[in-house]
């Protein structure tokens, strides 16, 4: 798994890199909505609508679990990606200071579980560094990159679409910037994060991505939906 090639539907030329590897056995990772060709849809829809939708390029996702060895995980995260464990129902974001700015985000899932997102190409590297930094501590790290799709909803009516779709109270008073909740979205399960005012991130199971995409199209029809390139 050291070498993976991430297909980016927003930049289809990236697939030609595959030839540069000269190895057809290099796995190509595609997003769940690759087949929808959102890039083409985006050119048709334009902008200036009430709701804007995008699917993020393949995002590296690591599930971290620790009970009594929480402090060890905390320090390993600090040294590896310079991020601290978030409080209950909160998230933390850090941006690497190197030449290419990588964004890391860790989300609270349960008292002993967190989900860390990172650029897909770095997931294996971060996992390896976390493991070596943790030593013999019993902390579980599972790479679930392939299991989820990361979607983004924004715009002045994004909150209204959420109100129709989830049972959670998404009023800004209750669902403030940085808050993460695991809840239901229509009939699917979602990890919902408030990125900024009127900007939300949905992490859904890959097999539900099509369903959620169709739901969002219908639910946002009255406000006007535009598909944006992330």
């Amino acid at each position: 798994m050291e070498k993976i090639l991430v297909s980016d539907q927003y930049a289809p030329d990236s697939l030609s890199e595959r030839a540069e590897f000269g190895d057809i056995n290099v796995p190509v990772v595609e997003t769940a909505l690759q087949h929808v060709n959102l890039r083409q849809v985006a050119t048709r829809t334009g902008s200036g609508h009430g709701v804007s939708f995008s699917e993020l390029p393949v995002t590296g996702l690591l599930v971290l679990r620790a009970r009594s060895e929480r402090a060890a995980l905390q320090s390993a995260l600090q040294t590896t990606v310079n991020i601290k464990l978030p409080d209950t129902l909160q998230s933390e974001v850090s941006v690497s200071s190197g030449s290419h700015k990588s964004v890391y985000c860790i989300r609270w899932v349960a008292p002993d579980e967190w989900m860390l997102s990172c650029p897909a190409q770095d997931a294996f590297d971060i996992e390896t560094r976390l493991r070596s930094s943790l030593g013999g501590n019993s902390v579980a790290i599972v790479n679930v990159t392939g299991g989820y799709s990361v979607l983004q909803l924004s715009g002045q009516h994004a909150n209204d679409v959420l109100k129709k779709s989830t049972v959670y109270d998404v009023h800004p008073q209750n669902f403030s910037v940085g808050k993460v909740v695991n809840t239901t979205f229509a009939k699917a399960q979602v990890m919902l994060r408030c990125v900024s005012n009127d900007e939300y991130e949905l992490i859904v199971r890959r097999s539900f991505a099509d369903y959620v995409w169709h739901w969002i199209q219908v639910a946002s029809k009255e406000y006007g939906l535009s598909v944006s390139r992330s």
Partner: protein
């Protein structure tokens, strides 16, 4: 629809996110090899079905996925308390003389 307080997420959540898992505080016979068939049968199959206060095990399936306990009134559906697994309930249940379950 009603809201249930999840002791792990530390806030009220919609009922839809939860799943009930039956009676709470089921004690497995300490020595399963030495217990009688009746003790084992009671542990496996026989559950309370009270009219009134009941202690139940619930799971926050769509949220943090943790199990926790609820003291609930089965008549009014009122939830008197929720508490983590391993903690003791604060609300005491009334003593109910149960009819001896039939075996055989």
């Amino acid at each position: 629809m009603f809201n249930i307080y999840c002791p792990y997420c530390e806030e009220h959540r919609e009922e839809e996110e939860f799943h009930p898992s039956g009676q709470a505080h089921l004690a497995r016979p300490a020595d399963a090899d030495a217990c009688t068939d009746k003790e084992w049968g009671d542990f496996l199959y026989f559950r309370k079905n009270p009219r009134g206060l009941h202690q139940e095990l619930w799971q926050h399936t769509a949220g943090c996925r943790k199990f926790f306990n609820i003291t609930r009134d089965t008549v009014s559906y009122q939830i008197l308390e929720t508490y983590k697994v391993g903690q003791s309930p604060q609300v005491k249940l009334p003593e109910v003389k149960l009819e001896e379950p039939r075996h055989g």
